[in-house]
């Protein structure tokens, strides 16, 4: 048995008195593509942000590649990780955001090379060569010198994917990557993600693209109100949902 890439046991997260995650338990194996579905406010994005410690969990255990997220266990006690240690862990996890969050004052090339150079200390020339390759992979070889405002939403999101990949992550998190895109631009981004999945990347994808989930996901997890309602292969969860809530949700989005 290999160590799961992500392993959550009873993860709870509160914002003030609002309980957003109420005991999430799931595993993501290396190379697995997991799609998180569910109505907005069900805690999908929050859970994703917990995985790279952009949010701190309040209870439960959350591990990435066998290490606790944000803590170190010594004996029975948990010690908070120092900021530099958290940063090092985050560098191994790529994240793609709903609103792209490209750095607007940098060209596409600089967006992709910034972290490898500053965080990993890779030589500028090496980083640029790799970035050129990655921008080619996402179909934007000719846009290296463009600033984000000069790109369409779909192009920006593909640059954002290249930026995340430039850190050679072992896990990629996608937070509704196509929700802010015009319908005709969604396809290009999904195509890049499909290729990534085919190349064996471990991916956790929060999405409303049922078609993508059916085609690419190994596991589909349906969440509602901070809990996992059901999970399983897409054919089962999307085809023969066992729970009324899943059926109700799917009937609305399909």
């Amino acid at each position: 048995m290999s160590v799961p890439m992500v392993s959550a046991e009873g993860v709870h997260k509160r914002f003030g008195r609002l309980e957003v995650l109420r005991g999430i338990t799931l595993n993501v194996d290396p190379g697995e593509v997991m799609c998180l579905l569910g109505p907005s406010g069900s805690g999908k994005s929050t859970f994703l942000r917990c995985i790279n410690h952009l949010e701190k969990i309040n209870a439960g255990r959350l591990m990435v590649d066998g290490d606790l997220v944000g803590y170190r266990q010594q004996g029975d006690r948990l010690h908070e990780l120092r900021e530099s240690e958290v940063a090092r862990k985050r560098a191994e996890i790529g994240m793609v955001f709903q609103h792209f969050n490209l750095f607007p004052h940098m060209t596409a090339m600089d967006n992709v090379t910034c972290a490898p150079i500053r965080v990993k200390g890779i030589a500028r020339e090496t980083a640029r060569a790799r970035a050129t390759e990655l921008l080619g992979q996402v179909g934007l070889a000719d846009k290296a010198g463009s600033y984000p405002v000069q790109l369409s939403g779909g192009q920006q999101q593909r640059v954002a994917i290249a930026r995340a990949l430039a850190m050679d992550p072992k896990l990629m998190l996608f937070d509704e990557p196509t929700s802010a895109l015009d319908p005709e631009l969604v396809g290009d981004v999904l195509q890049v993600m499909k290729q990534l999945a085919a190349d064996g990347m471990t991916m956790v994808v929060v999405t409303h693209e049922i078609g993508f989930a059916r085609e690419v996901a190994d596991t589909v997890v349906f969440m509602d109100d901070g809990v996992v309602v059901e999970s399983g292969p897409p054919a089962q969860v999307l085809g023969q949902p066992r729970h009324e809530r899943t059926r109700a949700f799917l009937s609305k989005v399909l």
Binding site: L54, R88, M95, N101, F103, V119, V149
Partner: protein
């Protein structure tokens, strides 16, 4: 579905020819402005009390130019202190440690709440408050005892007063700039493994600059003029140098004009500098592709071709 109407070139109607609306009010206003302007110019040229000859004589006089240099020194040093300390105060304000953020707030409250002229006089007379300065262990023995009276010269008092007062204003400007940067930028930088310092330095501050630069330009221009307050504690800057001359020659108006000319020349130069700074930090804010960027794009593709 109806398709939108397409006008064929042959059926293109003639251009509209219409009688424009008349604006008599504009003509009246222009007339008034011209008359007032002519009156002012006439008075400047003909009023002998301006003594333009004296102005010309003193415009490049050594004491005036030396005073100008002191004014510029004061402006630059005070602004550097103001900007650097202002950034520190702004970062402190955003600290999650309440003691740190409150003390920043207290500083800003105090220095914005008292007139800069009063602060200037305070620093000039600081020796009356603390005659001896001790550098050593806090609450313990001191190793060096510099004499405050000789340490705080008039010039240093002016630098301290203007710089520390400016820091309070700059802190608010920098803070506004940092707030203007979307939180998603910080999240993206963090998710890439950047430290808080790198995020601040590489991602947040460069973007905040677009918001920070224009008011900072204002502050610099304002500072250049505020340095004239240092004349009250006998710092030989531009105004004080002019005052020294007219207290001897009684040519008050011409020398005040000399000082004004130099102030306006310097502020005009600052305007130009601000324009270029704003352009630099405006990168990525416009969709239009700039000439320099084209060159960069060409350079990007060139090594790629030759390298394979």
């Amino acid at each position: 579905m109806s398709s939108p109407e397409v006008t064929s070139p042959a059926g293109r109607p003639d251009d509209i020819v219409a009688v424009p609306v008349r604006h008599p009010g504009r003509w009246v206003a222009a007339g008034v402005v011209v008359v007032i302007g002519a009156a002012i110019i006439r008075s400047i040229v003909t009023n002998p009390h301006f003594e333009w000859g004296i102005v010309g004589e003193y415009l490049f006089a050594t004491p005036i130019l030396e005073g100008l240099v002191v004014t510029l020194e004061l402006t630059v040093i005070a602004m550097v202190i103001g900007v650097l300390f202002g950034v520190v105060l702004a970062v402190m304000r955003r600290s999650s440690n309440p003691l740190v953020s409150r003390s920043s707030w207290l500083y800003i409250w105090f220095f914005r709440g008292t007139p800069v002229l009063v602060q200037l006089l305070f620093w000039y007379n600081i020796a009356a408050l603390y005659p001896k300065l001790g550098i050593g262990i806090p609450f313990g023995p001191a190793f060096v005892h510099p004499d405050v009276n000789s340490l705080i010269t008039a010039f240093r008092a002016a630098v301290l007063a203007l710089g520390l007062n400016e820091a309070a204003y700059m802190a608010e400007i920098v803070r506004a700039g940092m707030i203007s940067v979307d939180e998603g930028q910080t999240h993206a930088a963090q998710s890439l493994g950047m430290s808080r310092l790198q995020t601040m330095q590489r991602i947040v501050l460069p973007q905040a600059m677009r918001v920070i630069i224009p008011p900072t330009g204002n502050e610099t221009i304002s500072m250049l003029k505020t340095t004239s307050l240092a004349s009250t504690i006998a710092v030989a800057e531009l105004l004080y140098s002019a005052q020294l001359i007219y207290s001897r020659t009684y040519k008050v108006i011409p020398l005040l004009i000399v000082a004004s000319i130099w102030y306006i020349v310097c502020t005009s130069i600052l305007y130009v500098g601000q324009y270029y700074l704003e352009r630099h930090y405006g990168r990525g804010s416009s969709r239009e592709v700039k000439a320099r960027q084209w060159l960069k794009m060409e350079n990007l593709s060139a090594p790629h071709d030759s390298g394979l």
